[in-house]
Symmetry: C2
Subunit: 228 residues, 2 copies
């Protein structure tokens, strides 16, 4: 061994929960996500991200070798979160339960992960230079299995005959709109963020229109329904 290999200590640090490296990387990723979300890859600068993180610009390059590496890590983290939400579309549930849970989860995601949704939107609008392989493999597989499921529902008469692909796009578009166009929505809400009640109401409205739109009875909604 020689003096140029303090590897053991560094690795231990980076693996340990709450280690300096892990904590700083997460902080930088959080800040970078906000900046990339609002300016896109080309519009964001390392200087602005560094300012957001309250760090010297050189520290970003210490943790992430390049701007593209940092961006890639941000996008990959978002895709992981997207996968978790996608899992809430359970293939074993009834049509009503599966659609209701999935829409509610996606609306919740738009509220809690606004910036992640915007980064995804920016990336797709730019032609998905980084995530094209995710679109072609993971997203396509997920979409195909859900379309097959919805088609079986239609064939069995459990929902009205409806093109499953356009239905899925409608759910994606509507739910993600509340994240991607949050600024417009807040401007039209007298400049204020949507309240808890408004989020619940919007979610129930979206669920109601979609369920009735595919021939299902949305019922009285969770609030009224839970009371004895």
């Amino acid at each position: 061994m020689n003096t140029s290999e303090p590897a053991a200590k560094s690795i231990t640090k980076s693996i340990a929960k709450g280690g300096i490296r892990e904590e700083n990387e997460r902080h930088i990723l959080d800040c970078a996500e906000r900046i990339f979300a609002e300016r896109g890859f080309g519009g964001a600068t390392m200087q602005v991200i560094a300012d957001e993180a309250a760090l010297p610009k050189a520290n970003l390059h210490y943790y992430f070798s390049s701007k593209e590496t940092l961006y890639r890590r941000v996008v990959e983290r978002i895709f992981t979160i997207w996968l978790e939400a996608a899992a809430s579309f359970e293939t074993s549930a009834t049509p009503e339960t599966a659609l209701r849970r999935y829409i509610a989860r996606k609306m919740e995601m738009s509220r809690t992960h606004r910036y992640g949704s915007k980064v995804w939107a920016n990336e797709v609008m730019q032609g998905a230079p980084i995530i094209q392989d995710y679109l072609e493999v993971t997203l396509r597989d997920w979409t195909d299995t859900r379309i097959a499921l919805i088609d079986r529902w239609s064939a069995a008469g459990r929902i009205a005959p409806v093109n499953a692909r356009w239905l899925l796009y409608m759910i994606w578009a509507t739910t993600q709109h509340y994240a991607d166009f949050a600024h417009q929505i807040e401007t039209l809400n007298e400049g204020r963020a949507l309240s808890d009640a408004q989020w619940r109401d919007a979610t129930e409205t979206v669920i109601g229109i979609i369920l009735r739109g595919v021939g299902l009875d949305p019922g009285p909604g969770p609030d009224a329904g839970d009371a004895p």
Copy 2:
């Protein structure tokens, strides 16, 4: 008069239809719209726009004094087109006709003005630094009158009771998704643009889900309905 004022000739040129200035400005605006659409304001560069237009960079500054001026002209042109589409939501029509026409028009716009829609999306995602006044005045007024109209429909029992604001957002989101996320949609369509038949089918599906979703009967659709 002195030699520094060839104003008469220049103005005549710039006003005449097909004048060099008018033609070049339109060409540059078209190219700039595509670049701003995919990279946003900060991500786009005058060099890339010049390459897209097959012109030296200096020519852009001859016609538009700054990058921001060029961007502002692009955004203002898009807003004008948006206003025309917004007018297709006629306040005098029946609920079914008004919704059907408006959705169809918005879907058509997403197909024919993909880049304009993306510029708008980028601008809103960045917090609308340029168009904030449009959002606060023109868009708000338009939205308020349509919400009032839809509320009257609900009160009169002509449609199911539904929150008009979330319904409008749903229509905006769904139709604009076909422009803003065109790359993702085409990737999931085996890398090909949607065909005429697919656009018709998607439009009818969206109209069908929305109309049923607000308690209306969408009927057999235009194709089947027109045949004797």
